[in-house]
Amino acid sequence: MQRPRHLVLAPCLLVTLLVGAGTAVSGPFDIPLLPGPKVPTAEGEARLLFASSPFGVAVTVDGRHRYDIRIALSGLPDPTSLGAYHAYVAWEVSTDLADWHRLGAVQNGTTTVGQTSRNKFLLVITAEPDSMPSDHSGPTVMHGTSPSGWLQTFMTHPMFRGISQ
């Protein structure tokens, strides 16, 4: 039995706007990566995998899930084609963009980089002068949002206030 069409329209529209046309959120572990203007033909996705734990579900002591991040990329040009860059580097970035944590160097193909235990984060790939920069300095070539970033707020939703508009 399918749900009434109008009930699924709103979330579909929202996800389409936020993620990009033609991209779907497929589960709590998948991060579609979107290309920046310097690499318009690049494609990528990341997958969150529970870090090794005796309990199967890996969490920090305060209950944040711990994941290894596996990134699959294709269509990235040689970084030297973008300027004085020799590597692509993945970063786990706080949602206010204030805290950048280097995950590791990535390239076309599949790479398992570092771990994350943030509730919400951005995944950003930049071109850098080398594969182990202490901070990001080059252009953003791809980016995505942790699945938890799609957690919706209903603070202003009329449903909670009994308002018809």
Binding site: M1, Q2, R3, P4, L7, V8, A10, P11, L14, V15, V25, S26, G27, P28, F29, L49, F50, S52, S53, P54, F55, G56, V57, V59, T60, V61, D62, G63, R64, H65, N119, K120, P147, S148, G149, W150, L151, Q152, T153, F154, M155, M159, F160, R161, G162
Partner: protein, 538 residues
């Protein structure tokens, strides 16, 4: 995705009018205000005067030898929790029930007497015993009616920590206190790394409004969407656990989650911990951990060293979701305290505690199963849900709140919506991917001595995705991989937590002949149909 609103069930005449405790800041959907679950309210004792009911006493260790007999009586008792008296249930007047301590390979006889006001049975969780004593109504026995008795023969082939509980209306009977541990001692005195003392902790919770228990559904469970999550956490039936130890004392904790739905993330302040064992065996290798994730029905054996005098809290620290704000919120329950005296513990097991043992006999046992690790799955099931006749506001909300589901829901962020869902409206589903059959229509047959690979997928696109602790009766199993990643440190399990969106491969050692249940151990999900039968044919 299944939802049918053509037959909405409402019951505005129900007397179940208790306000449901809401998380701080969370507002009730206007469309749900005034609605009641379509079930009659039920609490143990049917209004009996609490002063006429005996006061519960703490669990007592009951050592039994091979061939011994135990009389186990489920009855009404009175518990005082946070100053309020409640009529609840217990075994032999104790909460938890007697801690049955037996040597490995012992066989005992248990004469069960049902003196509560519901039919009941006893299931010996995790024990690879004779099928006829598994305690499953409709499969291995008839329910034991109030006033009747049933005799179980329980053989303990595996060392470790196990537990017993009813297999009838667990959402009521287990939640009201019918649970107890079984501690099976290995003949090897060095089976675990050394400890100065040991404690069995059974973790549960209770849903209370002011001075009153929130009633249960009589005809079927309520809180069926995500199970009943209590607002009063309990350790061994009490809201404030207290333990006194000496400085440097290594305490071995046998942890059992007997809550209906809650998964815990436990820690003792910043005291160091290591994990030794789980459901049916020790780990291949002991591991240092910062906290213990304990899903319903799971057990873990851990050791903790309290090396500084003072007070150490037993904490449950998780991340709740504030659906109103769309944010994660740190949630902390303080379950109790460990008081560490300044006197030094003797003997000093610091060196043994600091080392992590490798259990070669466990690996050697598992090695026999390694040839099957990479085989194609023999059975595949998908976890999903179907609903009908839920309140319209619930349907509307669930239908637009679909962009993200947390792999594990640690607390109930929508209790009023959850409360209004019953087994009349929600059917949790184990679906056989090959046959398309669901739940009790599934009737697998496998050969005794075979090794069965079962792949379970928890569909994130169902109407209400949620984690499921899946329990298999009477056998042992290995979690060989999660989401395609091989498990690095194996342990024999009988219950495995499957987060939303995860795929888990289990290798079942079909070692025990009989008809065995596989089901979700969230009591309300089980009550809403989430079970199948696997026959191990001799």
């Amino acid at each position: 995705m299944q939802h049918d609103m053509s037959d909405m069930v409402m019951d505005s005449d129900s007397t179940m009018s208790m306000p449901i405790p809401m998380p701080p800041g969370m507002v009730m959907l206007p469309g749900l205000v005034g609605l009641l679950p379509p079930v009659a309210p039920f609490l143990p004792g049917g209004g009996v005067d609490p002063t006429t009911v005996p006061l519960a006493v703490p669990s007592r260790i009951t050592p039994l030898a091979d061939g011994d007999t135990l009389d186990l009586t489920a009855g009404l008792l009175r518990r005082v929790i946070r100053g309020n008296s409640f009529v609840m249930y217990g075994f032999n007047g104790q909460v938890p029930g007697p801690l049955i301590r037996v040597p490995q390979n012992a066989t005992i006889t248990v004469r069960f007497h049902n003196r509560i006001d519901l039919p009941s049975t006893v299931h010996w969780h995790g024990v690879r015993l004779d099928n006829g004593s598994d305690g499953v109504p409709g499969v291995t026995q008839d329910p034991v009616e109030p006033g009747d008795s049933f005799t179980y023969t329980v053989h303990f082939p595996d060392a470790g920590i196990y537990w017993y509980h009813p297999h009838v209306r667990e959402d009521i009977e287990q939640a009201m206190g019918l649970y107890g541990n079984m501690l099976v001692d290995s003949p090897d005195p060095a089976y675990y790394s050394p400890a100065n003392s040991e404690q069995a902790l059974m973790l549960s919770d209770l849903l209370i409004h002011a001075d009153t228990l929130i009633p249960f559904g009589l005809e079927s469970p309520d809180f069926v969407l995500m199970g009943r999550v209590g607002n009063v956490p309990l350790v061994n039936g009490e809201p404030g656990y207290e333990l006194h130890v000496t400085r440097g004392e290594v305490v071995r904790f046998h942890l059992t989650n007997v809550a209906s739905s809650r998964t815990w993330n436990l820690s003792f302040g910043d005291a160091p911990m290591k994990v030794l064992a789980s459901d049916v065996s020790r780990f291949e290798r002991e591991a240092r951990v910062a906290s213990v994730v304990l899903a319903p029905a799971e057990r873990y054996v851990i050791e903790t060293r309290f090396d500084r005098p003072g007070r150490v809290p037993l904490l449950n620290r998780v991340q709740a979701i504030d659906h109103y704000m769309g944010e994660f919120v740190a949630h902390v329950d303080t379950l109790g305290w460990v008081t560490v005296d300044s006197a030094a513990a003797a003997p000093d097991y610091a060196a043994a505690f600091d080392s992590l043992r490798v259990n070669g006999t466990v690996s050697a046992d598992i090695e026999r199963f390694r040839p099957w690790f990479d085989k194609a799955p023999d059975k595949r099931i998908t976890l999903t849900v179907a609903t009908t006749a839920l309140p319209l506001a619930t349907v509307q909300f669930m239908s637009i709140d679909t962009a993200y589901f947390h792999p594990v829901e640690w607390v109930d962020g929508m209790p009023e919506m959850n409360w209004l869902s019953t087994g009349k409206q929600v059917r949790w589903i184990l679906r056989d991917d090959d046959s398309g059959l669901e739940n009790e229509a599934i009737d697998w047959h496998v050969k005794h001595g075979s090794v069965v690979k079962l792949r379970i997928f928890n569909d994130p696109k169902s109407f209400h995705p949620m984690q499921h602790p899946i329990h298999l009766h009477g056998q042992r199993m290995l979690v060989v991989s999660r989401d395609g990643v091989a498990t690095a440190n194996l342990v024999w399990k009988d219950t495995v937590l499957i987060p939303v969106g995860s795929t888990v491969d289990l290798l079942i050692d079909a070692s025990n002949v009989g008809a065995w249940m596989l089901h979700c151990h969230i009591a309300e999900h089980l009550g809403a149909g989430m079970m199948l039968t696997m026959h191990v044919d001799g």
